[in-house]
């Protein structure tokens, strides 16, 4: 092992590595319970994806993250191309086209689009000379980042995948907020957001998406109908009480009262079987992950690295917050995976690459 590598190992953000490993391990363990009665052992497939992710991250650490700036546009267009491929040739599951068959694998390009978008936005904000714009961004100055985000969001909405579109948009907005934007512009953005929401409600949203939001507002009225998922999830979480029913003992999970318990509702499985204590533990782990990302951003070597870290922080934050909010009945059921917990190769790979970016940025914080 060369001296340089050894030094790099010293600089590696070990707490972040440890935190990721713990989340991944708990995730696989939990998945094994959630799919105890399933025919194929999903926890094994999930472990393989994680292993693949770890290898990819390991390889990625040898490359300076600034290379991403150079590759930003090709990556962005490649991701868009895959997304367009889904729109036209995608595999239809439960009424939505989200997957693309690539050789033996099924890929969900929308997961990678988030990463590509983060990289492109980071590149944009790091290269753009703010001082030329009187030191702060006005609304008009932001038209380019908006175009960056709206194209993939539109394609994702077309699948349709409201949750991913929402998360993608939220990540981009978070990065914009972190750039120097005038507060007036933020206010205008907020107003625009409301207008956009109204417009989407009237024109863009599919009936099933609307019904999800409506049932969120009054799930009891739709018990066993559209609100069934929400209610069963809340019952699962609530019945966990202090310490849960124990691994593999959750009746809501094991007896199939929880819908999609291995993907969107994986947190309910965790909360049912490990209770309030387990729930708080997991929340703390995600909190640590996001706060670490913000810390990496604050201490990055350059603006590009900083914005990358902010993007990744937003990625984990929004996924975790929307997912847990949704399964505990605080937010409508929109279908967002819980990072490193929900079953799904693309999602796991993208999340691990996100951690890889954080490690990379943090690793090179002292290098010029």
């Amino acid at each position: 092992m060369s001296l340089a590598t050894e030094k790099k190992l010293d600089h590696l953000h070990w707490p972040l590595v440890l935190c990721t490993i713990v989340i991944c391990s708990l995730g696989v363990w939990n998945l094994a319970s959630a799919t105890k009665n399933a025919l194929n052992p999903m926890w094994l497939a999930q472990s393989k994806w994680m292993l693949m992710g770890v290898l990819a991250v390991g390889a990625f650490l040898f490359i300076d993250y600034r290379f991403l700036s150079t590759a930003a546009w090709p990556m962005y267009f490649a991701a868009l191309a895959l997304l367009a491929g889904v729109a036209f040739r995608g595999k239809k599951v439960l009424g939505a086209r989200r997957w693309l068959q690539l050789g033996p694998m099924q890929v969900q390009p929308s997961e990678f689009v988030k990463l590509a978008l983060i990289v492109l936005m980071a590149r944009y904000f790091s290269r753009d000379d703010v001082s030329a714009r009187k030191g702060q961004y006005g609304l008009v100055d932001l038209w380019r980042p908006f175009v960056f985000v709206l194209i993939p969001v539109a394609l994702v909405m077309k699948q349709p995948d409201l949750g991913t579109a929402l998360v993608t948009f939220s990540i981009a907005m978070t990065m914009i907020v972190f750039a120097k934007v005038r507060w007036q512009s933020l206010t205008a953005l907020f107003a625009g957001g409301i207008a956009a929401a109204v417009f989407s409600w009237e024109r863009l949203l599919k009936p099933y998406q609307k019904s999800r939001i409506v049932t969120f507002l009054d799930p009891q009225a739709y018990a066993k109908g559209a609100g069934y998922h929400a209610i069963q999830s809340v019952i699962a979480v609530g019945s966990g009480q202090w310490s849960g029913k124990g691994w593999g003992e959750g009746t809501q999970n094991q007896l199939s009262f929880l819908p999609e318990q291995h993907t969107d509702f994986i947190f309910s499985v965790w909360a049912e079987e490990h209770g309030f204590l387990g729930g708080v533990l997991l929340l703390s782990l995600y909190g640590f992950l996001v706060l670490t990302a913000l810390d990496v951003a604050a201490n990055a070597r350059d603006k590009f690295g900083s914005f990358l870290a902010i993007g990744i922080a937003a990625l984990f934050f929004w996924h975790a917050f929307i997912n847990i909010g949704m399964v505990t009945g605080l937010l409508p059921v929109v279908g967002v995976p819980l990072p490193l917990f929900s079953y799904g190769g693309s999602s796991v790979l993208a999340d691990l690459l996100g951690v890889g970016i954080l490690l990379n940025v943090s690793l090179r914080r002292f290098m010029f």
């Binding site: 066993k224 699962a236 966990g240 202090w242 729930g279 990055a300 505990t328």
Partner: protein, 644 residues
């Protein structure tokens, strides 16, 4: 590389400027996580018990275990009604949604060979469960088909795995061993209606059958028993998870709560006499009642036409039901106690008793019949236009002279007649323990309307059981029993005792005085007056010239009175065919009898609706029932001796 360094320095500055925002971001993140933590605390700690209970009720499916309904037996413990094992098909809507629903319903329709009508009903009930205000309704199994044949049971069992939302519940069903002759007495069973369920949700469950009419309804609470419950563990699709999971998830004392069977009814009715009475009655419509004269216990009770309780309790089609309801002879009407009839000449005992008690006549005083009676400018004609000549009260009953009674009625007045009628139990429900009963009508000076004629003319009509006087066959039995037994007015009863399934007596019924007659169940007339009337009734049957002389029996003396009640003239209804028209305008034939005349044990009342002459169309039937009573008595005595 000064420019490069410049960029880096500028970057460093700007990153430093970013720090307040990342700090703010960190604050937002912490707050958001706190919100989620509070939410978890709220759900898991504050409301944890509630959600725990809900998660339990999710996988817990409660199946009812139907209780055995009590049996109904006759006075000699012959089983009239018991239960036979059978299966009902139930469906739980919550476990059967969308495509699965259509598949299951198609399969059920095929496997059970359901009629399109039944399929439609199944679908409607399914829909109703989802739209019900009660959210739990869709978790409650509803009845798809009652009492399915054995081969259908086999088919369903074979396809059980495809029909996870369908339950085959072993339910004992009613087995009516006697045919339609006891239909009105016993009643039948049918499913509770949605309205009844709404009314008493605690008392009934969906798909439960309850007693309708007759004893089944009147003694529902005694007969029903208490359903048990079996709790099993199911998954989200309602599939049973097996015994092992039951033991794991459901506490032992809640797994099976045994059913408590209902009590048995032992009747005073004699099945053999019932059959005899049914066979003796030859008319199209009418009633026969046989009652113990000294206790008021019912021995036989026929109302014709009747219905088959097995058919009514089973899968009767809508068309058959409609036919029953539209039948002009009204098979669902219990004529023994729920229809008004003019008593005709059978009511003359009331006039005679009133006259004797009021002192208007004596046992020997006579009145002259010249073929009618005139009051004012109206003349009431006697049956015999040439006149009966001079008659006393005894011979007036024997030949059933109308003119004698017109004159007597005019003398004693309406209120004396109605007073005596009430003492005999007319004009009020008798109180038979069989359910709803009409009171009949006994006019008095207060109840009559001036436009319907003077009080005197009412009295004259009432004297021969016409005008506004209306009675039921059951009231006739009570009244004639009182005359026969020396003046005790009994409340008729049909249940002798209630027993547990093991045969332990829960309740024994003693003869009960009809305290509603105004005299505490006593007739309160002079014994010699009662004897005079009984002599008249004896002459009716046993002396030449008596109206029922042809129906007398050789080995037993019975007494009685014929009645031929005029029917109100029908308006010319165009819809009725001539044959029906003729039938409906014929008189009702009555005969009220008691035997043996010397020491009466049994009262028999026969009403033959539109049968014509009482002497021809009712007396022979009554005679046959009386004979059957004594034959059975003799046979039982022989059997008893053989046992000893």
């Amino acid at each position: 590389m000064p420019s490069m360094l410049g960029i880096v320095r500028r970057d460093a500055d700007e990153i430093r400027e970013l720090r307040p925002r990342t700090a703010l971001g960190a604050l937002v993140v912490v707050c958001a996580l706190l919100v989620l933590t509070v939410r978890l605390y709220q759900l898991q700690i504050l409301r944890g018990d509630e959600y725990s209970a809900q998660s339990v009720s999710n996988f817990r499916k409660s199946l009812f275990v139907p209780a055995d309904r009590g049996m109904i037996k006759d006075r000699q413990a012959r089983i009239l009604v018991d239960n036979r094992p059978s299966f009902d098909v139930f469906l739980t809507p919550a476990f059967c949604k969308g495509k699965e629903r259509d598949e299951v319903m198609t399969k059920l329709a095929t496997y059970l060979a359901m009629t399109p009508e039944d399929v439609e009903r199944m679908k409607q009930d399914y829909q109703r469960s989802w739209t019900s205000k009660d959210k739990l309704d869709k978790f409650r199994p509803y009845l798809v088909e009652l009492d399915i044949p054995r081969d259908h049971v086999d088919v369903l069992e074979a396809h059980r795995s495809e029909l996870s939302c369908v339950d085959l519940i072993p339910t004992p069903h009613r087995n009516y061993r006697v045919g339609s002759s006891l239909g009105h007495v016993i009643g039948y069973m049918s499913e509770v209606t949605p309205e009844e369920l709404d009314d008493k949700p605690d008392e009934f469950r969906r798909g439960q059958t309850i007693g309708r009419r007759g004893l089944e309804r009147r003694w529902e609470r005694e007969l029903r028993g208490q359903d048990g419950r079996e709790n099993i563990a199911v998954n989200a699709r309602g599939q049973h998870l097996g015994r092992e999971m039951d033991e794991l998830l459901i506490p032992e004392n809640e797994r099976l709560i045994a059913a408590v069977p209902g009590n048995n009814l032992v009747l005073s009715l004699d099945e053999r006499l019932q059959e005899a009475a049914d066979a003796a009655f030859l008319g199209r419509a009418g009633a026969v009642v046989a009652m113990e004269a000294k206790t008021g216990f019912i021995l036989a009770m026929v109302s014709r036409p009747s219905f088959d309780p097995n058919k009514m309790s089973g899968r009767i089609t809508r068309a058959e039901l409609q036919k029953l309801n539209e039948d002009t002879l009204k098979p669902m009407l219990n004529r023994v106690m729920n229809e008004n009839y003019h008593p005709g000449s059978t009511f003359k005992v009331v006039t005679a008793l009133a006259g004797l008690e009021e002192g208007e006549i004596t046992a020997t005083s006579t009145l002259f019949c010249n073929g009618g009676y005139t009051m004012g400018n109206h003349r009431w004609r006697c049956d015999k236009p040439s006149g009966h000549g001079s008659l006393n009260v005894r011979s007036a009953l024997q030949v059933s002279c109308d003119a004698f009674n017109y004159a007597l009625g005019d003398r004693v007045g309406l209120d004396a007649i109605s007073g005596m009628a009430h003492r005999l139990g007319y004009g009020q429900p008798t109180g038979l323990d069989l359910g709803r009963e009409i009171p009949g009508i006994i006019p008095d000076s207060k109840s009559i309307h001036p436009s319907t004629g003077s009080e005197r003319s009412h009295a004259i009509n009432a004297a021969i059981g016409q005008g506004e006087v209306n009675v039921t066959p059951l009231q006739q039995a009570v009244a004639y029993a009182a005359i026969a037994n020396g003046g005790t007015v009994w409340t008729p009863q049909i249940v002798r005792r209630i027993e547990t399934p093991e045969g332990k007596v829960v309740r024994e019924f003693e003869p009960q005085l009809d305290v509603n007659n105004g005299r505490g169940g006593k007739l309160d007339v002079k014994p010699q007056n009662l004897a005079t009337v009984r002599e008249g009734l004896f002459a009716v049957v046993n002396e030449p010239g008596g109206t029922a002389y042809r129906s007398r029996l050789a080995d037993v003396h019975f007494a009685g009175k014929t009645g031929t009640a005029q029917v109100m003239k029908l308006g010319q209804k165009q819809k009725l065919d001539p044959a029906t028209q003729v039938y409906l305008s014929r008189d009702h034939a009555w005969f009220a009898a008691f035997a043996p005349a010397e020491d009466p044990e049994v009262v028999v009342v026969v009403l033959n609706e539109h049968g014509g002459w009482g002497a021809d169309a009712a007396a022979p039937a009554a005679s046959k029932v009386v004979r059957a009573y004594f034959e059975l008595k003799k046979r039982d005595a022989v059997a008893m001796k053989a046992v000893q």
